[in-house]
Amino acid sequence: MDLYEHQGKELFAKHDIPLVEGSVAESAEQARGIAERLGGKVAVKVQVQIGGRGKGGGIALVGSPQEAEDAAARMLSEGFQGTKVTRVLVERLVDISEQFYAAISLDRSAGAYLAIVSSEGGMDIEQVARERPEALRRVHIDPLLGLHAYQVRYAVGHLSSEAREGAAAVLAKMHEVLATNDATLVEINPLALLTDGRVVALDSKVTIDDNALWRHPELEGLRATFPIDPVEARARDAGLQYVKLDGEVGIIGNGAGLVMATLDVVELAGAKPANFLDVGGGASAEVMAVSLEVILSDPSVRSVLVNIFGGITRCDVVAQGILEALERVVPTVQIVVRLDGTNAPEGRAILAEANHPRIVPAETMLEAAQRAAELARAA
């Protein structure tokens, strides 16, 4: 679960990571009020989970409460790069002396967390890593022992001497944030040395491990504040992974790898996926029914491909779910169904017996993808 900048900063504040004074506004009037309280000169920042806000007009540096109000009004009405904006963060403008980058994230290949500090920040850090690797220092953090003082010392040892102590304190607290909240990423870009000598977090990116949210009910609650597509909301409420794309074939599969392979094969067959949904392992008839309803509720879908390889999932149960869905919604498109693995003959027999006009059975994955692509093109 990715947190918004202001949510990440609220976590930072709990762990005493120095921040710039500011508040969240949900309306232009609120933004004006905050700007007045902060003395007029403020930054207004869209709260979205997309990078590149600075270049893309998502951050306005303004000189008066009126300008803050105008900027907020524009952001809240226009959105940002196609994404709806419901909140802006209004922060006091500060005088920056130097900008750094600091992050702690999971290093999958090491099976451990990795702290990264760059002496250059406020820009695309991947570019810095490619072009000036010496600007970055990395230390692995033992998951049982945590972050040692010597590691912090090393990680900030290449920063300017004025910034080192403050940056060291921030890094240690970033690890506290990570460990206390089961985060898999805590990133600050830029981490800034101000002209008054303080080292403060000007941005925040925090990702919480979804698998650990049961340990953090207070964070689980944040999800409710995220703006979300109603179709995605329905899928999520059913515990399903649904993703909207921009093609025309709706795709249901079981297991992330098989779903991705299905997307690939559909594209090779000359069509584009409209969306996809992973029913996961052991899907019930009810789950299949909801899945099909979700997929069909997307108006851009011209055909549907159901690609199930039964393991824990039983194909007879899948077939029943498909038929249940067809009692609840009346599809306007054809549904190609390919069933294999556990109880596949039984599943195929159930569909054959139902003989539903919208169901198109297929023998293999490749054949199913080609059939769905043809149907989408024909529709």
């Binding site: 991947e126 049982l144 898999t184 650990a212 790898g257 991705m260």
Partner: protein, 289 residues
């Protein structure tokens, strides 16, 4: 021979008395796997269709000589189950459980360093050496014994490819479902190394997906150390960057980690990479001919 599981495998199922534990434990036994014990705290003395249940792995091992654990325990308790199996120095620990927090797994990984147990998973379908032993949830009926070693980050995609191989009459020595979680036990390299040393394996199929750099590191290993042919598949050529794909292992992180980059790395190491599961099966069939 085969790798990881074979005729000498003796399985204790941690969580045998749970719904999934019972279902798959009995299914594995029906396949021919030597399932000797179950463990559920507080249920010692009972049995599940003749499989005795113990309070602890240590007792199960002492009484039954189990050397392999299969874990079906809810995610909050699953890492404790792995520690318990590791403390009994089981040679193989297969953890099926999905949804274990990353931090817990990172601690397990640190603990297992330098210990004799090999972990497969978590969030994986397990390991099968067709005709001998099936430890996990891979449907045994889609497999057949033969010379192809297979290792995969994905579950159902593995079934798909195994199925296509079997339909062509190409059997498998061992299929390893390593799981897709960010922190996991045995990976491509550990599996490839064992297949390279396994006299019954003639060719290896590697099934990867977008995210991370496991495939790139596997490619380097293949170039340096493998003499047996390897056929590859990468899922996710057309997956949208940055969108969650169902498990954390499938997040595209920037430019590296794409299916394209992975396929190119493998091809540079001499691996033939199929663009569809069917093409993979065809490449294998061709290479075996």
């Amino acid at each position: 021979m085969a790798i990881l599981v074979d005729d000498a495998t003796r399985v204790v199922v941690q969580g045998l008395t749970g719904r999934e534990g019972t279902f798959h434990g009995l299914r594995n036994r029906a396949y021919g796997t030597t399932v000797v014990a179950g463990v559920t705290p507080g249920k010692s003395g009972r049995d599940v269709e003749g499989i005795p249940v113990f309070d602890t792995v240590a007792e199960a091992v002492a009484e039954t000589g189990a050397n392999t654990s299969l874990i079906f325990v809810p995610p909050r308790f699953a890492t404790e189950a792995v520690y318990e199996a590791a403390d009994s120095e089981l040679r193989l620990i297969v953890c099926i459980t999905e949804g274990i927090p990353v931090r817990d797994m990172a601690q397990v990984a640190a603990y297992l360093r330098g210990r004799p147990s090999t972990l497969v998973g978590p969030n994986c379908p397990g390991v099968i050496s067709p005709g001998r032993s099936n430890v996990g949830i891979i449907p045994g009926e889609i497999c057949m014994a033969g010379p192809v070693g297979l290792v995969s980050r994905s579950g159902t995609l593995t079934y798909q490819i195994v199925h296509e191989l079997t339909q062509r009459g190409v059997g498998q020595s061992t299929c390893v479902g390593m799981g897709g979680d960010p922190v996991h036990g045995i990976g491509f390299i550990g599996s490839l190394e064992r297949f390279e040393n396994d006299p019954e394996t003639g060719l290896v199929v590697l099934i990867g997906e977008i995210g991370g750099d496991d495939e790139e590191r596997a490619a380097a290993f293949i170039a340096e150390r493998m003499r047996k042919p390897v056929v590859g598949y990468i899922a996710g050529f057309t997956a949208p960057p940055g969108k969650r794909m169902g498990h954390a292992g499938a997040i595209v992180t920037g430019s590296s980690g794409t299916a394209q980059a992975k396929a190119e790395a493998l091809e540079a190491a001499g691996v033939k990479v199929g663009r569809t599961p069917t093409e993979v099966a065809e490449l294998v069939e061709g290479a075996m001919a």
